[in-house]
Subunit: 226 residues, 2 copies
């Protein structure tokens, strides 16, 4: 499949790398290609420059958000929460119409320090905002409840016996995403219903963050035992 | 131990019945004893009157919120979220001072229909409100992430291999609650830190409610796989 991954951070790299290794035609989208490719040093948190990662993943193309979305049959948002709607605006509604948009992003607000608060919650969600803003896109919320490395390789933890969620209004779009998730190794994919269920998975993040602090580790996930 | 359970609903009955069966001296607290004992018919949802339950649990006493709290070393709030602070006010701050208050309640607002929204979230929680309002009580948030029957009998599901959380500012109070939880059969009790972590477990409820809808069942829980 031709897939756009919007965002060059750890989530974007994990998703793009795994999809390319599976034979998909992947283009990563970024706000400013020249700026993304110019940087060669690790950032303040020690994360290598995108170009260092790209050198190891020659099959993954890089373009603007619009280039990537125009190229794609399926678009993945792997941006920081506050950057998701601007990235999709930049991609262009005409480049999203009719396409599956898998939204992995979380509306976390770090501007007031730690722990982050939520930009939207309770009566709305980022997933719903995207679906309202791009009414012709087929938005599926998923994979936003765990760390990047586990998203694409659930088997590294607990024999892969843990859970991931999808929510969206379009059954075919959800089926497409579930197929991708099965390809990553997910066995327990729970369909939470329409896109308003994104409220639930996004509001889980405060618990996830506290768990990360208590466990001293981000490679964990929840299994829904039933 | 002498324990007060504030609330006569399904959570209160589950907790009170289990604690009494374990030999604790339990008094259930209610707003209006005469009204609670006068009712003999099931309610609109088919839940039997409190008196029918009490007849099967002769070891459990009934009193006002203040009677119950005055009697107790440990106070459990098993009220609807919007009734928790009023119940504790009625119990009286002097009857809570120095005592462990295990808050099981969730600040769900059903007044706008289903799904409920949250009365408090993100930058505050009901657990924190209780701790601020009753500064001399030692508040522990716990057991608010699952259905009543599982709270006191985790072994009925998945061999009991699933997780429950505690949060609170007082280490000794948390240790007391963890002992009670072990007595119920819990093996995986995760300490999330201070009482502000109640934000995380309370904001998990929207996901819990969507899961209940998708699974068609409320007897489920999450295991933190790590």
């Amino acid at each position: 499949m031709r897939i756009a991954v919007l965002g060059t951070g750890s989530v974007g790299r994990a998703i793009a790398g795994r999809l390319a290794a599976q034979g998909h035609e992947v283009m990563v989208g970024t706000r400013d290609v020249a700026s993304t490719t110019a940087r060669t040093e690790p950032d303040a948190r020690g994360i290598p420059a995108y170009q260092a990662w790209a050198t190891d993943h020659p099959g993954v193309k890089l373009g603007t958000f619009a280039d990537a979305a125009a190229h794609a049959e399926l678009v993945v948002t792997a941006t920081q929460g506050e950057a998701t709607l601007p990235a999709l605006e930049s991609a262009g509604a005409h480049n999203l119409a009719g396409k599956v948009v898998l939204d992995i992003s979380n509306p976390l607000d770090f501007s007031h320090g730690m722990p982050p608060t939520l930009l939207v919650k309770d009566t709305d969600s980022l997933g719903e905002q995207i679906q309202r803003t791009f009414a012709d896109a087929r938005v599926v919320k998923g994979l936003n409840t765990l760390t990047a490395s586990l998203m694409v390789d659930p088997g590294q933890l607990g024999d892969g016996d843990h859970s991931v969620f999808v929510a969206g209004n379009d059954a075919d779009a959800k089926a497409t995403v579930v197929d991708l998730l099965h390809g990553f190794g997910w066995r327990d994919v729970i369909d939470l219903g329409d896109i308003s269920a994104a409220r639930g998975t996004e509001m889980y993040l405060p618990l996830w963050l506290r768990l990360m602090g208590s466990l001293g580790n981000h490679v964990f996930n929840i299994k829904v035992v039933r």
